[in-house]
Amino acid sequence: MLDSLYQLVSIQTLAWLIVAFPLAGAAVNALIAVGTAKREMGAYRGVVSFFGVFLPLLAFAASAAIFVTMTNFEGVDPSFITGSLLQWAVTPGLVVDIGLKIDQLSIVMALMVTGVGTLIHLYSVGYMGHDEGYARYFAELNLFLFFMLVLVLADNLILMFVGWEGVGLCSYLLIGFWFEDKAKARAGTKAFVVNRIGDGFFLAGLFLVYAVMASANAPVGSGYFNFEMMSRYNAYFVPAATLISLLLFGGAIGKSAQIPLYVWLPDAMAGPTPVSALIHAATMVTAGVYMVVRLNFIFALSPFALSVVATVGAATALFAATMGLTQTDIKKILAYSTISQLGYMFMAAGVGAFSAAIGHLVTHAFFKALLFLCAGSVIHAMSGEQDIRNMGSLRLRMPVTCWTFVIAALAIAGVAPASGFFSKDAILWQTFERGQYGLWAVGFIAAGLTAFYIFRAVGMVFFGESNIPPEKWKRVHESPTSMIIPLIILAFLSLLGGVIEVPKILGGSDRLGAWLSRLIAYETAHAPDPSMAAREIIVMVITLLWSIHFVVLGWVIYAQRREWPDAVAKKISIIFRLVANKYYVDEIYDRLIVRPLNWVSTKVLWQTLDDTFIDGLAVHGTARAVGVWANIVSMAETGVLQQYLLYFLIGAVVIVGYLAL
């Protein structure tokens, strides 16, 4: 069937199609949105939903086709580069051609993005059904898919940066989708600004890369930012490697919401839930990890940078996990869990286990998307209610959502058969194996906390007695089928996702590691030594038990004994309040950065420096001085003719006197 497909279209054009389909969808929907700006949607709703869902599906199909063809390439490196569509900016030193690079890593990402994307598109048909901005929503969502695919499939850093910022733009638009509400609009701006700070670092990294490539007197004609060229000349990167990787990692922190720049993600929940699912769980936030893995040959050059990545990752994981414990808004809980899972990925990348990071990325996409979608259907059902405290025993009315949520919870907690177990275990084991025991410990604790808070949510929302007001309880009902189907598919994926990463020790062939091995130069240099096998089994068992312990604990407390946590909270009230308010990080940022910046630019720069000094003193000051001086001089004019003559005569005398001397 495939080769008949290839008669029709070459693999390069197929690659372009992956990107072209979402763009086409975005364009059509945008036109419809503008067209029906004021008028009622009516018939167009069907057209929009058709294009909205079908085109991403086509993109998924195309990437699947390419993936299949690549898998049956034995031995030979199946990756290829599509020719440059157009030379973007041709100056003597800067040749940037827009082309796609399909290799093992990017096709995996493409598959994940289009797959989860399509499911979420299908889901949002139901979720956003009655919203009047329907066409605009789908246009922005498709545009997001387009930019994400550009980011993932780009063959050079500049194009990746284009995707990088494009994705930021779409997240801004989608978070602030319901722009009537001031808080939501502010959240959108906050997201974009924080991303932009990260992009600043990314840009600096870019320039450094350019500097290095230029000095490596690579042939001028070739693209300095091309991954191929960069990997070929990475010997020249040695001196600047640390700085470049740190700067690029700065960009990643901004985009993937790591420690200093994570504040925007919890606020990003203001957007519609499918958006959170797609952007703030599965795809955009993982862009940082993808970038680090893509440029692993640079990061590998500087162990210091890698250790920084690892520590930041681990710290974020633990920090976010603790914050997840006390959240009451269901979407906020999931946001913090995303941050902590991302922390895991970066920890993996930091320690050099790039394939494990990718593995966790993929599995995380599945179960985190599922969690968000379930939350979405709960909110949809509860008509906008997001606080878990006034939910409970929803399992009676929404069985499918409940059980899919539980499966996802198991996966994230890392319980045996689910995919989460394999990917998280791989990370923890690789960290342990590489001797990073400190990091392993942090990871270990974070895993426990994750299990606890997720099952706290499960207990509060689905089990235990319901504290939903009666009139709302009547209207609670299971979500429509268009929302249920994606849940079920994702549930399967969460369960079976782990298969790609079954470690050798358990008889699996660690397909993902093998698949990516050609790209990850670092890993090959670090082959696993057989003596550690036994220890690996022990570690795996310990982590499994640890997670199960917390799962039971969480479920029991929040399903049956709700009063216990309040008691505990009262005892350690100070710590509890600290954690509940997210360590006051937002307030600190506001106090330390936003307010002083405002004050400086208003008071110091604008009022004093600009208005009083330059404008007041220099400009109007001179004008006033001239006025004053003019008055003084006019005093001499008395009006009496004789005096003028006197001045005249005295002047003459003085001159003549001078001359006569």
Binding site: S634, M635, A636, T638, G639, V640, L641, Q642, L645, L649
Partner: protein, 101 residues
């Protein structure tokens, strides 16, 4: 005792100074005008003296122009004095302080 150009210069200076004193000291506008005419005459003497001693026609030309200008000045000056007199009933310069600065 031959007359030299310096005699004429001294005469001219004398007349000029008398004119100047007249202009500065007198209060009556008309007297001031007359003193100015006097000063102009003094200048003419000097011009013609130099013209005569250097045999240059230019001296005479300038004197001609000075004469014409003096005539014009007198005409307009007197016009002004008359109009001031008509409005202020005074010809004394120190009472005309209208244009104070």
């Amino acid at each position: 005792m031959i007359i030299t150009v310096h005699h004429y210069l001294v005469l001219s200076i004398l007349l000029f100074t008398i004119g100047a004193i007249g202009v500065v000291t007198r209060r009556n506008a008309l007297i001031i005008f007359m003193s100015i005419e006097l000063m102009l005459n003094a200048v003419n003497i000097a011009f013609l003296a130099f013209a005569r001693w250097n045999l240059l026609i230019e001296g005479k030309m300038i004197v001609l122009f000075v004469l014409a200008v003096a005539a014009a000045e007198a005409a307009v000056g007197l016009g002004i004095v008359i109009s001031i007199y008509r409005n202020r009933q005074t010809v004394y310069v120190d009472e005309m302080r209208l244009l104070k600065g």
